[in-house]
C-alpha cells in the first residue's frame, strides 16, 4: 500500500525534502539490502518451481481418468481441462513412480535442519554466541546429509532401472530434486561464509542479518521441498 501511495504523489508540485525523508537512518526501519535481494530471489525461484509444477500437472494427461470418460473426451480431472484449454493433447503414458522410503527420512532431515537454523536465529537474537557455532554446524551438516540422502535415492532408482527416461514421473523427479538440490547447495555457500565469520569470533550484530536470511532461505527451500514431495506422493 505504501508503494501505491507513493505512486499517487505529484512530484511536480512539491519541492524540497519530503517529510519522512531518511536523513540518517533513524527515522524508520527499512529491510536490509541483502534482505531485499533475498526476497526478490525467492520470488524468482518461486516462479521457477511454479512453472515446473505447471508443466508437471499439464504432463499428467489422462492419468487417473477412467477409460470410458477418456474415450468420450470428458475426463473430470482438473489437469485434463487445463491441458485441453492450453491445446496440449492428453498423454496416456503417466505411471506413478515408486516412492522410496528414504525420501521420508530425507524430508525429516531437512525439517530438523530448518529447526536448527531457527535455533541459530534465536541464539543470535539473544546473543548466545557460544551456542551459535553448534546450531549453525548442525543446520549445515544436516543439509549436506539431506543432499547425500537425495543422491542415495537417485542411486537406488538408477540401480532399479528407473532412470529419467523410464517414465515422465521419474523425469520430473530427477528434474525437481536436481533443481532443489542446486538451490540448497547455493544456500550452503552462504552457510559456509556465515559459519566462517562466526568461527572467527564475529559479534552477534555482525552476523545477525546473515543468520536470519539463511534461516529464511532454508525455511523457503523446506516449503518448496514439501510441496514437491506432496506432488510426487499424490500422483
Amino acid at each position: 500500500m505504501k508503494f501505491l501511495r507513493e505512486l499517487a504523489k505529484k512530484p511536480w508540485l512539491t519541492r524540497g525534502l519530503a517529510v519522512g525523508t531518511d536523513l540518517g537512518g533513524v527515522a524508520h526501519h527499512r529491510p536490509s539490502i541483502a534482505a531485499t535481494g533475498l526476497w526478490f530471489y525467492i520470488g524468482v525461484a518461486t516462479v521457477m518451481f511454479s512453472l515446473i509444477v505447471a508443466a508437471y500437472v499439464l504432463r499428467l494427461g489422462n492419468y487417473g481418468a477412467d477409460p470410458a470418460s477418456v474415450a468420450a473426451a470428458t475426463s473430470s480431472r482438473p489437469w485434463w481441462t487445463l491441458a485441453a484449454l492450453c491445446g496440449i493433447p492428453p498423454a496416456d503414458d503417466w505411471q506413478p513412480m515408486a516412492e522410496p522410503a528414504l525420501l521420508w527420512m530425507n524430508t525429516g532431515i531437512l525439517i530438523v535442519s530448518s529447526i536448527a537454523w531457527q535455533m541459530a536465529r534465536s541464539d543470535v537474537r539473544h546473543g548466545r554466541m557460544d551456542k551459535l557455532p553448534f546450531t549453525l554446524i548442525a543446520g549445515g551438516v544436516l543439509a549436506f546429509l539431506f543432499l547425500a540422502g537425495q543422491l542415495m535415492v537417485w542411486r537406488q532408482l538408477v540401480d532399479g532401472g528407473q532412470f529419467a527416461a523410464a517414465s515422465p514421473a521419474y523425469a520430473f523427479f530427477y528434474l525437481i530434486t536436481a533443481m532443489h538440490g542446486l538451490h540448497l547447495l547455493g544456500g550452503l555457500i552462504f552457510w559456509g561464509l556465515t559459519t566462517t565469520k562466526v568461527m572467527q569470533g564475529a559479534k552477534a550484530g555482525d552476523v545477525k542479518t546473515d543468520v536470519n536470511l539463511c534461516a529464511i532461505y532454508w525455511h523457503y527451500l523446506l516449503i518448496i521441498w514439501i510441496v514437491m514431495f506432496v506432488l510426487l506422493l499424490i500422483t
Binding site: L7, G16, L23, G25, T36, F40, V44, A83, D93
Partner: protein
C-alpha cells in the same frame, strides 16, 4: 536499512590500483556497463552480418555458394537469438541499467558490486558458449530462434547434434548472469536512492529499467525451465516435450511429451521479453524527448503507471504468439482481449511523447532525431501489432512476412533507434568528448529512411502471402514476379543500412580520441548523472558527499528561472522566483 549505511559509506568501494583491477576485474558499475555494452555490441555485429547474408540469399537466391538451406536456417536462428537476448537485453539492462541506475538515483555504485562483476563475466561466458557453436561439428542450431521441439532436437535439423546443446547451455548461463545483475538493479533502486530521491522523483529511464528488470527476473525462469527440460530430452532421452515420432522410418524412443507445453513455457518468457527490451527504451526515450524539447514530460505519473501496467499485463498475453498452435478458441479469445488491452497504456505513452513535443522548444540534435524516429517506427510496429493480436487476422498472416515486418519494426528497429539516441545523448558524459554532428545526422537519416525501405515492403509481401522462414520461393502461383523485385530492393536497402553503421562506429571511436572536449552538461539536463563533479564520473561518482534531491527530474523551462532547466539537486531556496501556479515552495505533506 538506513539511508546512511549505503549512501555515505565509502568503505565498501575498494579503489583498485592496477590496470587489470580497474578495467578487467572491475566492480565499478560504469566499467561493468561498458564491458556489457562492448560485448553486446560485438556479438550484435555478428548478428548484423548474419542478417546481411540472409538478405543476400532472399534478394539474390543462389548468388552466394556457402549459403545452403542449412546455413540459412542457422543464420536465421543465431540472428534472432543474438539480437533479442545477447544484444538488446544485455545492452539495455546490463549496459544502460548498470551505467544509469546508480548515477541517476545518486548512489555510489550498485549495492552488490561483486555480484555485479560476476554477472558480467558469466554473461561473457554465455556469449563464448554461444559463439563456440559456430565451430562445432554440424554448426549452430538452425531450429529458429524459438527453438520449437520436436524439430529442434531431431536429426535433420541443422545443429541438432551439438549446436542445440550449446544454445541451451548458453541460455541457461545467460539467465544465471541476468539474475545476478537483475537482483542488483532492483535492490539498488529500492534501497540505495540518495536523500530526497523518492520513487516518484526518479527519471523515466530508471522506472523503465526497474520494471523491465522485475519482468526479466520473473520471466527468465520460464526459459530456464524450458531449456533444462529440452536439454534432458536431448541428452538423456526424457519425454517432456517429445511426442512419439517416426523419424526416417524408425520410431524414436520418446513418447507422450508435448511440444505445445514448450511453446507455453517459451512464450511465458518470450512475451515479457518484448517488454524487457521495450520498457527501458520507453523510459530512455521519455527523458530524451523531454530534455531536447526543453519541456517536462507530459503526464509523468501516467507514464510511470503505464510502465507498471504494461509490465503486469505482459504476463497475460503470451499465447498470442501461439494462435496457430490449435488452442481452445476461448483461450485465444482471452489472449486477444488482453493483447488489445495492453495497447491502451502503450498508446497513452505514445500520446504523452507527442504531447511533450507539442509547443516544446524542440532542439533537433542527433539524440532527439533518433527519439522522434523511434516514435514513428514504434507507432507503425505497434499498429500492426493490433492487427496481429486478433486471432482471425493473425491466422492467415502468421506465417508471412507481415509478422517479420511487424516485429522488426516494433522490437528490432524501435529499441535500436533508442539505443543510438541514448548513446549519442550520454556519450559526452561517458567519455568527456563530443561526437561529430554531421556524421551523427548522416547516420540517423540513412538508418531511419533505410529501415522503412527494408520493413515497409515486408508488410506488403506478407499481405501478398509470401511465407516467412523460406530459404527460397521457387515457382509459386500466388506470388507475383514483382515480389522478387521487392526482395531485391529490400536487400539493397538492408546492406546499405548495415554498412552505414560504420559511420556510427567511426564517429564514436574517432571522437573518443580526437573529439572536442565536452561540456559536463551539454544538453542542459536536470537529472543527476549530469551533475557529477567530474566528467566522465570517477569511481564513487559523487566525491565526498552524495547529492541531495529537491525536485523531480523534469523542471525544464520553469517560468522565472534563470536557466531553462533546474537540476534535481538545486534546493528550492536557491530559486529566486517561482511560478504563480506552482504554489509556494513548501515541504511536502
Amino acid at each position: 536499512m538506513s539511508y546512511s549505511t549505503i549512501a555515505e559509506d565509502t568503505r565498501p568501494l575498494h579503489h583498485p590500483k592496477t590496470w587489470v583491477g580497474k578495467y578487467v576485474w572491475s566492480q565499478d558499475h560504469k566499467v561493468i556497463a561498458l564491458q556489457y555494452t562492448i560485448t553486446a555490441v560485438s556479438v550484435g555485429l555478428v548478428a548484423l552480418v548474419l542478417s546481411g547474408l540472409m538478405r543476400l540469399q532472399l534478394g539474390f537466391p543462389g548468388m552466394i555458394q556457402f549459403i545452403t538451406p542449412e546455413a540459412y536456417y542457422q543464420f536465421v536462428t543465431m540472428h534472432g537469438m543474438i539480437m533479442v537476448i545477447y544484444l538488446l537485453t544485455a545492452l539495455l539492462l546490463g549496459g544502460f541499467g548498470n551505467y544509469m541506475i546508480p548515477l541517476m538515483i545518486g548512489a555510489r555504485d550498485m549495492v552488490f558490486p561483486y555480484v555485479n562483476m560476476l554477472s558480467f563475466w558469466v554473461y561473457l561466458l554465455s556469449v563464448i558458449v554461444l559463439m563456440a557453436s559456430f565451430f562445432v561439428p554440424g554448426g549452430p542450431t538452425g531450429a529458429g530462434w524459438t527453438l520449437y521441439p520436436p524439430q529442434a532436437i531431431t536429426a535433420g535439423t541443422p545443429g541438432a547434434t551439438w549446436g542445440i546443446i550449446l544454445m541451451l547451455a548458453s541460455l541457461a548461463i545467460f539467465i544465471v548472469a541476468f539474475t545476478m545483475g537483475g537482483l542488483n538493479y532492483v535492490t539498488t533502486v529500492l534501497q540505495a536512492r540518495t536523500r530526497g530521491m523518492t520513487l516518484m522523483r526518479m527519471p523515466c529511464t530508471v522506472w523503465g529499467i526497474f520494471v523491465a528488470t522485475i519482468l526479466g527476473l520473473l520471466a527468465f525462469p520460464a526459459l530456464l525451465v524450458a531449456a533444462v527440460m529440452m536439454m534432458l530430452d536431448r541428452l538423456i532421452g526424457t519425454s517432456f516435450f517429445m511426442p512419439s515420432i517416426i523419424s526416417m522410418g524408425e520410431p524414436l524412443a520418446h513418447s507422450g511429451g508435448s511440444p505445445i507445453l514448450f511453446q507455453h513455457l517459451f512464450w511465458f518468457f518470450g512475451h515479457p521479453e518484448v517488454y524487457i527490451v521495450a520498457l527501458p527504451a520507453f523510459g530512455i526515450v521519455s527523458d530524451l524527448i523531454s530534455t531536447h524539447a526543453r519541456k517536462n514530460i507530459f503526464g509523468y505519473r501516467m507514464m510511470v503507471w503505464a510502465i507498471i501496467i504494461i509490465g503486469g499485463l505482459s504476463f497475460v498475453v503470451w499465447a498470442h504468439h501461439m494462435y496457430v498452435s490449435g488452442m481452445n478458441p476461448y483461450f485465444g479469445f482471452f489472449f486477444a482481449t488482453s493483447t488489445l488491452i495492453i495497447a491502451v497504456p502503450t498508446a497513452i505513452k505514445v500520446y504523452n511523447w507527442i504531447l511533450t513535443l507539442w509547443r516544446g522548444d524542440i532542439h533537433l540534435r542527433v539524440p532527439m532525431l533518433f527519439a522522434i524516429g523511434f516514435i514513428f517506427t514504434f507507432i507503425h510496429g505497434g499498429l500492426t501489432g493490433l492487427f496481429l493480436g486478433n486471432v482471425s487476422v493473425d491466422v492467415p498472416l502468421s506465417d508471412t512476412y507481415f509478422v517479420v515486418g511487424h516485429f522488426h519494426m516494433v522490437m528490432g528497429v524501435s529499441p535500436i533507434l533508442v539505443v543510438f539516441g541514448a548513446i549519442y545523448h550520454w556519450y559526452p558524459k561517458i567519455t568527456g568528448r563530443m561526437w561529430n554532428k554531421m556524421l551523427g545526422q548522416l547516420h540517423f537519416w540513412i538508418t531511419f529512411i533505410g529501415v522503412y525501405l527494408i520493413y515497409l515492403p515486408m508488410h506488403y509481401l506478407g499481405l501478398l502471402g509470401v511465407p516467412r522462414r523460406y530459404y527460397e520461393m521457387g515457382d509459386t502461383d500466388f506470388v507475383p514476379a514483382s515480389a522478387q523485385w521487392a526482395n531485391e530492393a529490400i536487400t539493397v536497402a538492408a546492406l546499405t543500412v548495415g554498412v552505414a553503421q560504420l559511420i556510427f562506429f567511426y564517429n564514436l571511436i574517432h571522437s573518443y580520441f580526437k573529439g572536442p572536449k565536452a561540456d559536463p552538461n551539454p544538453w542542459g539536463a536536470t537529472s543527476l548523472e549530469w551533475q557529477t563533479p567530474q566528467t566522465p564520473p570517477v569511481h564513487g561518482n559523487w566525491g565526498p558527499t552524495l547529492p541531495t534531491v529537491y525536485r523531480w527530474a523534469y523542471d525544464y523551462s520553469v517560468p522565472g528561472a534563470a536557466q531553462d532547466f533546474i537540476p534535481q539537486n538545486v534546493p528550492p531556496e536557491d530559486m529566486a522566483q517561482d511560478h504563480e501556479t506552482r504554489g509556494p515552495a513548501v515541504v511536502e505533506e
